[in-house]
Amino acid sequence: MEKIVLPDIENFHNLDVYLANGGYTAVKKAYAQTTDDIIDQVKKSGLRGRGGAAFSTGLKWSFMPKSTDKPKYLCINGDESEPGSFKDRQIFEFNPHQLIEGILITCYAIQAKSAYLYIRGEYHKWVNLMQKALDDAYERGFVGEKMKETFGHNFTCEIYIHKGAGAYICGEESSLMNSIEGKRGYPRVKPPFPAQNGLWGNPTTINNVETITNIPPIINKGWEWFSAIGEPKHPGTILFGVSGHVNKPGVYELPSGTLLTDIINIHAGGVPGGKKIKCVIPGGSSMPPLRGENLEGVKMDADSLRAAGSAIGTGGIMVMAEDTDIVRVLSRLSKFYHHESCGQCTPCREGTGWMVKLLDRIVDGNASKKDVDLLLNVACNIEGNTICALGEAAAWPVKFTIQRFREEFEKYTADTASIDMPNKVHSMRKTVNPVAKVEV
């Protein structure tokens, strides 16, 4: 199987090796065509975003206004902070120039003169690797003013790396723009959408790192070639990051639509000790978990996973063997979302806190069966009531874990709560005065 994003070529990260393998030829090819032609090819290729929502990339680009005096921007999202996602880091390390080349083509297609590559702050090493590649590209005239000579076209653009500083929410596109503007990473209310009102109020496109890295091969080999790979409605390869209880965790580039069980059992070497699988989260921690017995025949592409009751997300596959305590996993995950909530919306800020407290109480063995319903209720009241999708990201794992793994909560809960409480809500405050033992 041919690899598009992470080819098996030694030292491909090195500019000379990249050039020897046809590097930076797609830019030249693209610049000889009109911007409409490029957008059209990307649309026809069927490429869908790899950052979570699987939205058509060409369509997104076509939202950029044509007649405007305002500067336009491209943001490339390398925040990669979703638990279970560790794929973009491979691109920074092993294929930085194809990413840069993709940025150059995208900037031309949307006529952006500046691109900001946002990389999460913890990725110090990968920021440095990426900066080194970018410096090399500048020096050889592939980026910046010297592009004119190199590519024989008067389009130029600048690429800047912006390093995050430890906030998952900055992966959300409008929060990411605020962060680049030097503000707190608060998501913005949409509409207006970034294509109208993005970075500093200007038209902006935001794409994931893996999405953009797919662009040069699409231009070079044609959209027909790309659209024939994998599942027709979500074509191409996808970087699947497999983690948790497997023998060979890691990132595997495979055609979309590959069977989930094949990825786990063949590529990632199966579960240690031949144990059964209890649960798989197929697309990064925010996506609904699937039961082990429901994995047969599930294909890894956006539509198949939706049909199976989950979502492709970032393609981060978290595998949990039969002896995993799902309630503790959920409890840990809820702490993450509570910690990462930016605090703008009450349902998310407060709701994630209540979910943590309820799950703590369940894990501590102090909860009644009805507390599980209360937990479900809190989750359902976050969903759809917030500014950004972190609300859903926090609510979905709780909602679907309860729906699909209800029996897991049984061993922790009794018919009645074992602690004194005046009413369920206040009882969760650590300062409460126990009034009486209440039946619930």
Partner: protein
């Protein structure tokens, strides 16, 4: 303690502000430069950053407190970060965290008496495929057993 940027860092700042169309947008990279020089972001540091970038002090405060990687109090010389999020948890992340806590005798947010180590329980670091992991300052150590994590910590000067 009053804070001023070194000559070298002023040059760095002059370079970094060119990446953005507005000076105040450079507050994040400038806070990093300040943290590298001072070790942590004190109120005086924030004031100097605000003065340098000609922006309101409260905006700098807002940014510095929003992002977890800016230390709002002094960290240890070796800032040890242990991930306990799910992919690490499934492969022993909590065992690593416990071993490190027991060894350093501090918990999340703590600093050892000699100022050598500080500890932070962190969220997913993007090392899920090579879990469990710890990070010390900027360096990642992956695929660890608790014993290996402790020997890494021992080896730090």
């Amino acid at each position: 303690m009053p804070f001023t940027f070194t000559e070298e860092n002023i040059n760095k700042i002059n370079t970094v502000v060119k990446k953005y169309p507005y000076k105040n947008a450079a507050v994040m990279p400038v806070l990093y430069i300040a943290q590298e020089q001072n070790g942590w972001i004190s109120i005086e540091v924030m004031q100097e950053v605000a003065r340098t970038l000609e922006m309101p002090e409260e905006d700098v405060l807002g940014v510095a407190t929003f992002y977890t990687m800016y230390h709002k109090k002094p960290a240890g010389r070796h800032h040890v970060q242990v991930c306990t999020n799910v992919s690490c948890m499934l492969r022993g992340g909590f065992d690593v965290y416990k071993a490190v806590k027991d060894k350093l005798q501090i918990t999340h947010g703590g600093v050892t008496g000699d100022g050598k180590y500080s500890l932070e329980e962190v969220e997913c670091m993007g090392s899920c495929g090579t879990a469990p992991m710890i990070a010390v300052n900027e360096d990642f150590y992956e695929n660890l057993t608790p014993a290996q994590a402790l020997s890494i910590i021992d080896s730090l000067k």
